[in-house]
């Protein structure tokens, strides 16, 4: 089976709608089929990666924990919009420290999140075979 470059674009807050959770489900399916998967987070989507989420009060499960598993699925590219972070008063330090283990470098943990400008993100998106927006 040939491999395609899939990007999942996440634009919405983690809770309140089912988009963020559904996106993550589809990401896991694509990864199970050995595709080249990357994720991007813009607009309110950046809130999906914020550290210390606790949606217990609204009866949702804290699926943000699942992002920590994605490194094991060879998903190591999380592009986050610098502009979207800044507009919301957030910085890289507010996000979960997501990592992947590099097999070729004695399993060293390397950061998965890359903060990029919207212009850079546009360029990265244009290099994809498939972009899915949630």
């Amino acid at each position: 089976m040939s491999t395609k470059k899939f990007m999942y674009l996440n634009r919405r807050a983690p809770y309140g709608t089912v988009y963020a959770l559904e996106s993550l489900e589809v990401v896991l399916v694509a990864a199970a089929f050995d595709q080249d998967v990357s994720l991007s987070f813009i607009d309110d989507g950046v809130y999906q990666l914020v550290e210390g989420q606790n949606p217990e009060g609204i009866g949702m499960k804290n699926f943000s924990k699942t992002f920590h598993a994605l490194g094991d699925y060879d998903i190591k590219q999380f592009y986050v919009s610098a502009e979207s972070l800044e507009e919301r008063g957030l910085s890289l330090d507010d996000l979960m420290p997501l990592v992947w283990e590099d097999e070729d470098d004695d399993w060293a943990e390397k950061p998965s999140i890359k903060v990029v400008s919207n212009a850079e993100l546009t360029k990265i998106m244009s290099e994809q075979d498939v972009c899915l927006s949630f």
Partner: protein, 107 residues
């Protein structure tokens, strides 16, 4: 609706409510599949439960295989070993015994 030791299960035998799980239920589910749970089975079942607790998902088989090899020794980190314990699939059957939902992407 079917049940195992009073805990409700769906049409494929997975627990409806994860909180219902007990070791006795796992033993009973295994008995239904003609399997007697050994220490090796429990290693995998406990691993699956810990993994789910940490990440809120059941691992894909490829991820499970790698992690079991890392934790319990290289000779166990292969699908042949895991299928010898769980002939209907370490993901599907293992997760069912562990009281977890069916893994995402599992057919």
């Amino acid at each position: 609706m079917a049940d195992i030791l009073g805990a409700e299960v769906d049409e494929e035998g997975f627990l409806v409510d994860l909180k219902d799980w007990t070791k006795e239920i796992a033993v009973e589910m295994a008995k239904g599949d003609d399997i007697e749970l050994s220490e090796e089975h429990w290693d995998v079942i406990n691993f699956l439960r810990d993994y789910f607790e940490e990440y809120q998902i059941a691992p894909a088989v490829r991820v499970l295989t790698k992690a079991i090899g890392k934790q319990f020794g290289k000779e166990k980190g292969n699908s042949k070993y895991l299928y010898s314990l769980f002939p209907y699939g370490p993901g599907k059957q293992g997760c069912r015994f562990a009281g977890l939902p069916k893994p995402t992407g599992c057919i």
